[in-house]
Symmetry: C2
Amino acid sequence: MSNQLNVTVPEGAPFIDFTREFDFPVAAVFEAHRDPEIVAQWFGPNNMKMEVDHYDFHSGGSYKYTHSDETGNYVFTGVFHTVRENEFAIQTFEFDGYPDVVAMDYIRFETLENNRTRLVGHSVYPTQEARDGMAASGMEVGLSEGYARLDALLSSR
Amino acid sequence: MSNQLNVTVPEGAPFIDFTREFDFPVAAVFEAHRDPEIVAQWFGPNNMKMEVDHYDFHSGGSYKYTHSDETGNYVFTGVFHTVRENEFAIQTFEFDGYPDVVAMDYIRFETLENNRTRLVGHSVYPTQEARDGMAASGMEVGLSEGYARLDALLSSR
């Protein structure tokens, strides 16, 4: 049984929301977001290779990583406004294909019963057009594939 | 003659936009945003004292400052996602009275004829309610008073 990614793209508001549950405790799910060596093993679409330039997952830190496949390299950068262990993160997100169009991602790590976890995401875009473009970009597939790989990774530990 | 602050609060979108022109060149207006010792002299409402804890106005930097008056202390924190000299900045913005409600502010420094400058601001809020609360908070008065003090400061140099 696998847990489903639920993405909501609200009408007329520049947001994308999602939830995803995991059959693993919050500490394990958070650590898989904090440690760049683990992040590089699961984050992003299946067909992409991820290379981390730097990834300092703490308040005031920043990150830069590259996803690549046979079509090219895709560079992502951002800063972490807030990171609270096993609880909450707020970070900015920019793709070099759309320079200066920066999203803000809220991620909440919720503790469920039976050592399970719920991730609650809220992404905020600077224009409605930017949100619509992101929603149409295949991000849902990439996110869903990434979380399935995270499940597999956490199962194997 | 003083230049006017024009604030737009669009219906049904979580944004606040503004423009403000200055009779000073972009380099001077940008420097007054970059140097924390100058920022502390003009930013915010007239009745507030500003104390800067740190303010590193460059890509990947962060800031923390306190506004205070007889009613209390108001702490603001954020990170700078992008800073391009004399051109553009993107930063996050959090007021400790509304923890975890983080806005993203885009500021464009435009060069006009006759050594003049136009600031173009676009603020993005994580919910419509947060935007409405900010719009009702007196932020327009504080911004307007601050820019008038910046005019006076740049005139005196």
